[in-house]
């Protein structure tokens, strides 16, 4: 750490649009999402189920199934090189089956998934599946070195007896252990960005706490950026420097974690915050968000939250998309209630 990088950008997503062309119609799963993640920083993505969090993550790695998915617009700029002065590639311009993108996947960006039950193939040992990634991206290593590296990784994610469990099949491990193995696999090639897509949703609470702590520790140790996706506010706030709130394929609000908690601006963010049970405040009642969710095949022309918003202004909010405005440095919101300073 002698020089500070002139440019510490890792990934810039600009106006990403990923649509699914289905028989029933077009689902605009991600419809104009922009954000950036700097090296070593963490971004939390929050929103109700179905709002496009996973599709955003899959788009970054280009692993959304194409077809039916199609990236109809935007760019995903990946800045290569640790010093930030490397080449910049637009992931959306690469052939999704090509050599270039396959070399970037897992090496630059790795991902852990929601379902520890199914993210490993049941037919091969976890050692085989982790080793496969290492061999693919670090081709110089011998079989023995790959195995040693795998054992070392399994130890670092807290798997007991890694020398033995490297030869275990996924079904022989518990859900928590499997998720640890998944984390080991994600870290196996030293990625610069780790995307965690609701990695603890399928686990019980005590295991969840351990996994969260593990990810936070390893993020420091491996000096990675983190994109942490969850529908659980408490979890996201614990894991992230910044938070992005999504609703029906769009970003509603984005700010540093402390700022967005103390000063939520968007009516949707405010509603989400009210729905957290607060024991200490005496109010342990969940306030559900009222109103109907529009059909995903036919999103309204105006603000997507219009149908459920307490502060909606007919004639304004349903007429056009509110632009994203920066109300204070690094605090952006997409709502007609606010004006650019």
């Amino acid at each position: 750490m002698t020089t500070t990088p002139t440019n510490d950008k890792l990934i810039e997503v600009r106006d990403l649009r990923t649509y699914f062309y289905l028989y029933e119609g077009v689902v605009k799963a991600v419809d104009g999402v922009s954000f950036e993640i700097r090296q070593g920083r963490s971004l939390g993505v929050i929103g109700e189920s179905g709002c496009g969090k996973s599709v955003t993550a899959q788009s970054i790695m280009r692993i959304a199934p194409e077809p039916p998915a199609k990236h109809v617009g935007g760019e995903i700029l990946l800045h290569l090189g640790r010093d930030g002065n490397g080449e910049v590639v637009d992931m959306l311009k690469l052939d999704p089956h090509g050599d270039r993108i396959r070399a970037l996947r897992w090496k630059e960006i790795a991902m852990i998934f929601q379902e520890p039950m199914t993210s490993f193939s049941p037919l091969f040992t976890i050692g085989n599946q982790i080793g496969e990634a290492i061999q693919l991206h670090l081709p110089g290593l011998s079989k023995k070195q790959v195995r040693e590296r795998t054992i070392d990784l399994l130890g670092r994610v807290g798997i007991p007896q890694p020398k033995r469990l490297i030869d275990a099949y996924p079904h022989q491990l518990s859900g928590g252990m499997r998720q640890r193995a998944m984390i080991a696999m994600a870290l196996s090639c030293n990625p610069r960005l780790l995307i965690a897509d609701e990695p603890t949703t399928a686990l019980d609470v005590t295991i969840e706490a351990q996994i969260l702590e593990l990810i936070a520790t390893l993020q420091q140790e491996f000096n990675m950026a983190l994109m942490y996706i969850s529908h659980d506010l408490a979890v996201v706030s614990e894991m992230s420097d910044e938070i992005m709130v999504m609703y029906l394929g769009s970003v509603m609000e984005q700010a540093e974690t402390g700022e967005i908690f103390n000063n939520p601006l968007h009516p949707y963010t405010q509603a989400l915050w009210r729905s957290i049970p607060r024991i200490e405040g005496g109010q342990d009642r969940l306030v559900p968000i009222s109103g109907t969710l529009p059909s995903p095949y036919n999103l309204p022309k105006g603000c997507p939250f219009y149908t459920r918003c307490e502060h909606r202004m007919p004639g304004i909010c349903d007429a056009a998309r509110p632009p994203m405005i920066e109300v204070s440095p690094n605090h952006k919101v997409s709502c007609f209630l606010y004006k650019q300073e």
């Binding site: 089956h97 998934f113 993210s119 490993f120 037919l123 990634a133 079904h171 696999m185």
Partner: protein, 332 residues
Amino acid sequence: MLAYIARRIVTLIPILFLISIVSFIVIELPPGDWVTFQIESLRMSGIELGQDEADRLTRQYGLDKPLHERYLRWIENMLFYGNLGWSFQWNRPVNDLLAERIPLTMAISIASLLLSWAIAIPIGIYSATHQYSVWDYIFTFIGFIGLATPGFLVALVLAWLIFTTTGFSPLGLFSTQYVDAPWSWEKLVDMLKHLVLPLFIIGLSSTGTTIRVMRANLLDELKKQYVITARAKGLSETKLLLKYPVRMAINPIVSTVGWILPGLVSGEVLVSIVLSIQTTGPLLLRAVLAQDMYLAGSIVMILSTLTVIGTLLSDILLAALDPRIRYGGVKK
């Protein structure tokens, strides 16, 4: 793995015992026996048999003994002397009759199975990975035709077509000049030429089914998270496809290996008759019609046994392919 195989073999014993009883009862169920069938045939041709003559025949064939005694003798001979009994109809030992046909039956079923897999699995993979493409529709269409057309009809039409266009008669196993000739290279080639059509036809319907099953299984597997994980790791599409989802999608097909023999006997009898192939199917049909009970019973018994063994083999194969089966279920 060895313990698993041993456990499976032990469970075979009661199953085989049940099969033997069922085989025997099924054969005994229809009213009448070999002697009444004989008397009836003679009467048809105008000869009346006296009652004592009929009794003499019944005693001679041992048909006057009670059912369980006949069953025990049959089993005893089978287990201790490898003797399956006497075919009244052919006036020859059942062993000889079956020795001529079982190897051919098995060879045809295994070869047609391998052939249909070799065709169906790649097509199923293509169809699943190119869902709703033109070729997917074409293969689906052909597969359904294969499923819906009765094999004997295809056999008749194709045999006729081949004969009228090439002058080659695809019936039987050998051309007439080779039937009694000693084995030679030419005779082998001649036999293989005759086997192409039955293999093709017998494989046809199972090919259609296997394509459907492979396509559906693979489509299911392709949506699974582990496929997305493998893709995210940077694996190439081909390597990923063959190592992960295809391996999973094949397992249910492997588990049907045990069923090929009964299928061959029931569904393909007509094909074999039409093409004059000496498999066990036509033999069983004639034996049942003539109440040639030891022959019929033995065929049912042997085919069932082979089926059970086939199922065992497919289970062992599955265990070798899938660690979850090998290690006895999902541990929590």
